[in-house]
Amino acid sequence: MGNFLVWVVWVVAAFTCLGSALAVISFTNPFFSALALIGNLGSLAVLYLLLSAEFVAAAQVLVYAGAVMVMFLFVIAYLGRQADAPWAGGPSWQAIGATGAAGALFVEIIVAVGMKASGRLSDEASIDTFFGTPSEIGRLFLTDHLLAFEITSIVLLVAAIGGVILGSHAQAAGPPVDGAAPRVGAAEPRPSGTVPAALPPQGEASVR
């Protein structure tokens, strides 16, 4: 019975996951996409739980669905109408090619899994109750994977600096000039000898 319930939960979570993923890439409005992604992340968290990864599931909900997605939504809201972009476009072979490539990847993974499944993929280790608990994770983070842990923090720090640079730069640049050609800020005169004020920067770059 419990097993049946697990199956139900699994099926629901799995299909939510798949459906929401498709929804993310299908919606025209990024806002809806982001919401769909939250659903996706949530359903994944359920799957993680089923895989005895309690801590990861919790982190998924807190960090991902919570913090990251909020940031997303905030930016989308900030950008407003501008965030809307055409669904696809370009030559149709691009869409076909994209679908083809993605489909091929998926098929390959299925094939690989299928070929392997006849082997030993299904048998899994027996695990004790500590598996996936925060304490166990924490222990590993401070012993075997100490370095990874530290690096993760460094990566986050770097990203933070990047956010600062990119964000504040945008502010420092002042009100943008209308039109396409002068793409550099006109608020402060550029020092000589570096970035051209008048030249379309890539004018010659793109011609062969």
């Binding site: 419990g2 996951c17 498709l22 965030a83 499944a117």
Partner: protein, 102 residues
């Protein structure tokens, strides 16, 4: 183990990965591309955790946690860039970002 076997999870992971890839390949809005990338990474995470479960080895979960942090970092930088682009009053459309080519 309760529920389906690991291969089922891997197939879901593969589907997520492929879907995310399709999103990157097909969408023109950088925002949605970023979201698609998140889906790809989550696919990876699911695979890692599933394997971790099968192997009874927590390294996969640790890896997944690290990936989450990295994904967050990418999102930060990506969103920063998107905002900067938007502030330049450029279209948020990767198909129009073709000044560099050839």
């Amino acid at each position: 183990m309760m529920g389906p076997d690991v291969p089922a999870y891997i197939i879901i992971a593969g589907f997520l990965f492929a879907t995310g890839a399709a999103g990157v390949l097909m969408r023109r809005s950088p925002l949605i591309i970023l979201l698609s990338l998140e889906i790809m990474l989550n696919g990876c995470n699911l695979a890692l955790i599933a394997f971790s479960r099968r192997l009874g080895d927590l390294s996969g979960q640790i890896f997944a946690l690290a990936v989450m942090a990295v994904a967050a970092s990418e999102v930060v930088v990506g969103l920063g860039l998107i905002v900067a682009v938007a502030r330049r009053r450029l279209d948020l459309d990767v198909d129009k970002m073709i000044t560099l080519r050839g």
